[in-house]
Symmetry: C6
Amino acid sequence: MTNLAEQYRVTQEPFYQPQANEVALYEAAYNARLPVMVKGPTGCGKSRFIEYMAFKLGKPLITVACNEDMTASDLVGRYLLEANGTRWLDGPLATAARIGAICYLDEIVEARQDTTVVIHPLTDHRRQLPLDKKGELIQAHPDFQLVISYNPGYQSLMKDLKQSTKQRFVGFDFDYPAADLEASIIATETGVNKADAVRLVKVGAAARALKGHGLDEGISTRLLVYAATLIQAEVNPLDACRMALVRPITDDADIRATLDHAIDAIFA
Amino acid sequence: MTNLAEQYRVTQEPFYQPQANEVALYEAAYNARLPVMVKGPTGCGKSRFIEYMAFKLGKPLITVACNEDMTASDLVGRYLLEANGTRWLDGPLATAARIGAICYLDEIVEARQDTTVVIHPLTDHRRQLPLDKKGELIQAHPDFQLVISYNPGYQSLMKDLKQSTKQRFVGFDFDYPAADLEASIIATETGVNKADAVRLVKVGAAARALKGHGLDEGISTRLLVYAATLIQAEVNPLDACRMALVRPITDDADIRATLDHAIDAIFA
Amino acid sequence: MTNLAEQYRVTQEPFYQPQANEVALYEAAYNARLPVMVKGPTGCGKSRFIEYMAFKLGKPLITVACNEDMTASDLVGRYLLEANGTRWLDGPLATAARIGAICYLDEIVEARQDTTVVIHPLTDHRRQLPLDKKGELIQAHPDFQLVISYNPGYQSLMKDLKQSTKQRFVGFDFDYPAADLEASIIATETGVNKADAVRLVKVGAAARALKGHGLDEGISTRLLVYAATLIQAEVNPLDACRMALVRPITDDADIRATLDHAIDAIFA
Amino acid sequence: MTNLAEQYRVTQEPFYQPQANEVALYEAAYNARLPVMVKGPTGCGKSRFIEYMAFKLGKPLITVACNEDMTASDLVGRYLLEANGTRWLDGPLATAARIGAICYLDEIVEARQDTTVVIHPLTDHRRQLPLDKKGELIQAHPDFQLVISYNPGYQSLMKDLKQSTKQRFVGFDFDYPAADLEASIIATETGVNKADAVRLVKVGAAARALKGHGLDEGISTRLLVYAATLIQAEVNPLDACRMALVRPITDDADIRATLDHAIDAIFA
Amino acid sequence: MTNLAEQYRVTQEPFYQPQANEVALYEAAYNARLPVMVKGPTGCGKSRFIEYMAFKLGKPLITVACNEDMTASDLVGRYLLEANGTRWLDGPLATAARIGAICYLDEIVEARQDTTVVIHPLTDHRRQLPLDKKGELIQAHPDFQLVISYNPGYQSLMKDLKQSTKQRFVGFDFDYPAADLEASIIATETGVNKADAVRLVKVGAAARALKGHGLDEGISTRLLVYAATLIQAEVNPLDACRMALVRPITDDADIRATLDHAIDAIFA
Amino acid sequence: MTNLAEQYRVTQEPFYQPQANEVALYEAAYNARLPVMVKGPTGCGKSRFIEYMAFKLGKPLITVACNEDMTASDLVGRYLLEANGTRWLDGPLATAARIGAICYLDEIVEARQDTTVVIHPLTDHRRQLPLDKKGELIQAHPDFQLVISYNPGYQSLMKDLKQSTKQRFVGFDFDYPAADLEASIIATETGVNKADAVRLVKVGAAARALKGHGLDEGISTRLLVYAATLIQAEVNPLDACRMALVRPITDDADIRATLDHAIDAIFA
């Protein structure tokens, strides 16, 4: 079991710059083992934050990217057929409950309902995971905690968590970092000069202003880091911005023109 | 069999404060082995009540969180492939029928119809569970009782129990506890001081008044307990309320503002 | 085979009070081995009647609760994997055809079409059940008879039997028993005094008058028996009626008020 | 193989009274091994005709009741897992092609497309059935013929044969027998007196006149035979008609009244 | 491998009468190993043409009737479970690629997308078939060629090939043969006298004129051959035409009357 | 492992003529191991470009044609049943991550969501692929890079990448080559004379002008190469153009006429 825990240990401190008192609040939630829901747009740093907290708390972290084809068995475990009969294989949620890991279910709303219902007994006073198919009832390790992420921008009538699921979590709101902080993140991660980092943040701000006016989401910090990486590799900044900040996110000719003009103006 | 029953025994008295004569009425229903349906909103204590009754009656309790991907086999049982052929594994419903447990099907309307129809012969004068795939007919243990929960707020044209299922149960209505009782529950469970417990109940009342006016459900007692837990962990009460009572339940800016104002006013 | 037949033998005479000449008509249909369709609302005694006739005729009875996830294999049989290869397991319909049982398919319209088509060769002059997957053709035992139940209230465009299925049966119509008979049934089954039995029948009549005016179905005899059982267990009659006759069948506030008033008036 | 053919041999001459020159035409089609499509309403004698022709031609007959859950494998065959690996099991279509049987696919439109496409190479000059999963190409036995039935009343936009399937068959139209012939069939099959047989045919005519005016299909000859059977068993003719001719086919109160009046008048 | 190729060799020259220069054009396409798409209505001779070309070129021919339930595995291959583990079984497409056959996918639009996408790497400069499940990359035999058929009359928004599939083929258009040629085909194939062959072609022309005016497709050459076959078997020509040319293709009373009149007039 | 890498090595330099600075930009993206998205219409050279870059960079290339029936297991891997139990088989994505290949997911939008979500941890700072079913976490080889292709013309509300997927890539836009370049490609690949190559490019331009006016997509360079191939095989140019440039892409009579006129005029 110890070896399994080591495999999921975060061994290097992830680069994370706090935006407010979220680190202290998370520690309070973890100490009470309250289930946590992190909310925010794509690429704003939700996963990085959880990875950072797992490092800081010294707990293993098991991440699962949820999707609509994932079944409860993918989380809980299943029997494998082997030479001498079947063998049970714990899924990531069962493993996390056994070894006392933080289990991070990324984009939980994408999963089917049986996946979300299966977490219920782990998120109330019982802290249990029934393995119905194995006839076993796992009592969660004292260190176990459940974390889910949730992008409100995707929330739709068809795909939303049920209130009976939502009301099992405390919530953290995330957003893109403030301009200064974001420029500092970009410069620190890529080595790009501060002036270009500031310019990229300005491009990001221009794109984020288009959210709801032709863009589903603004440009993430991740894409700004991509652009800075290309600039560091001596790609022309205009090419770098088009490759990293325009072409991946939209094919709409008008939006592309608007973004191109912004880039030309900012890097002029 | 005895060992199996022990595994599902509720060994510690759950914390439960009766709201009316529901304990006596449940005992009458159990004594006649009438199937029971408990109704009420998320997190108002339905599951806790059944757990308490199982403890009080000294009967094992097997809980199943229903979901739309659950099949009848998940309840009744299935064959597992093993080294020397297949082995039958009872599902939770078959186990409950054999050992004389209370079988609690949580949020039954979420299940597919084959799951709901499979309980019919257990809920009339026959008290039988046919294991068609095994060719066995289980005659339920004299102590067996079936309990289902049901959240009327979720009832829709597409997902409702059929009358031929409903008319097999006697019903209990549940709701959030009265204010005094709820404050007492919060204080007892978390150790928070009485004044803060009363304030949290007021926040709960404000949120519940929004049900149907932007909120699908009010705030559950469970979330109020979460907030109190964070306050006990020396989190600022305003932060604790936002984390536990606002962010998890809505992303609507207006509703959030309304709730934030209520929290500010109550904790001022 | 004899043992199998014994397992499905109805050993105790079920309590059944005839409403008209249905017993004689059923005997005529059975003697000609005509397939039988019993129609009527939930809980009016259709299943009890078939159980009674099986007892009276001294034939085994195999009951299957149909549902929309049931496949033809669930009725006919399937191969199981075992240590030394696969083994065929007869489904309930094949078993009934072999041992000469009455096979009762409850709520047949719920089943998928492959389930209903599979009964065709058993319901015409051939009286055969082809086990395509096994390569066997069962010639039904001379005592075999097929019975299906059907609730016209559920009939919809999407879920109705095809004419090519319907035109293979003779039909029996059922309804709630007349008032005197129903009161006598309630008193006999539960031991409740005649006056309370009559009052409960009046509550039933009040609810049945609401069918189509807010209730999908009236209150079944079964629920009236539940209420009488609770009264016999010294539960207050008003509580017993609310538990057994109001809460399980509707969450509509107006209908509940109407039913509550009726109960108050009748038990005043 | 011979034994297999014997199992499907029609050993007793089925009762069949020709309506026109259909027997000679079928023989011509069979002699040229043209695939045959028989069309007509429920219970008018399509299946009986094919059974009769199989008897007359002295060929084995394999009947398959098609349904929407039937797969191509159900027709063609599949691998079964056994103690020493997998074993191929021919489906009914492959069996028929090997032994030279008439293969009768009843209600073909109910089947999924993969079932209908699989018959194509058997119905053109190739007369082959590729067993793709087995890697074998069956060349049909010289005696093999394919017959399908088809109820035009069910034809809908969603469920109709494709022209590329239809244009592989020659067609026979069937309908209810003329009145005299039908009365003679009823009397011969059940022993009922001629007068009652004539009355039943009149009831049938009355019901068939309602087709398209509240009834999806008229009353089949089979149901008239049921009613005659009950009358022979000394059931009151009015009861017999209601059981066999009214209740199974409709729940519409107006149609039922119309039919009841017709029965009363005819048997007065 | 040679034996496998022999099994799919077309050993007898199929009867085929060219309509224009399609034989030379096909040879040019085959010599460059360009993938070929043949288009045209049901029963106009597309499959016969490919069979003829395979004979003429001396290449094996593997035909697959596509359908909407066919999976990529049905084309590519799958693992079979056997006594000593699993064994890979090539599907028809993999077999064709290995032995250098012409692989003819009949009615490709009926197949699911995974079936159509799987042919992409076989239809560009790569000429490869990746067996992902086996971890093998088949380099197609130099003689391998892919042919698909396509009925433009079935083309709908829901079921059409994607442009990225279409743009991998060169196309051949087919239609019913000209009158003289068609009469000669009918007479040659069935031995019917020339006068009757000409009459049948006239019936075909009358029916084809109704395409789009009540008929989805005209009458195919195949059905005309059926009618001639019956006439040769001494069936009355009017009966033969009704059986082969009217009943199989429509149940519409008006269209049937129109066709019947045409037949009466032509054979008068 | 080395052998596996060799199997996917591009051993011959693919014919590729750069259109702008895309080769240098791709090298910059590869050097930073940024995930790449290539966009553009069918047959414009996207796949050829990636193959060329893999050759130039000397890295193995694993291509997967995505489709809507592809599951995450098809990419990641699965257990195979063998004589002595199950054996894990890496999918193409896992293989690429292990051996340090460029993994090219062609037409990624066709895949189901579980396929697209599974690439997320490979496309951020983690560069990991969790094999949940095997309980292994692959750390990608330093040479591994992910490339996806994307045809904006297919983009629809139902089938589009989520922003959380898009924002993990830098983008390259592709289009048909300029006229001179395209004629040179055609002449070089097929040996056709320059004049005919120029004429074919003119036909292509005429067809591309119809995009959005009756054609979903223009004619690809690939089809122009097909036509040139046929001309080189001494097929009449008009026949060659009709076979390769008209019949495969449309059945619309008007569009066909327009294209035929263009071809006649250009080759006059």
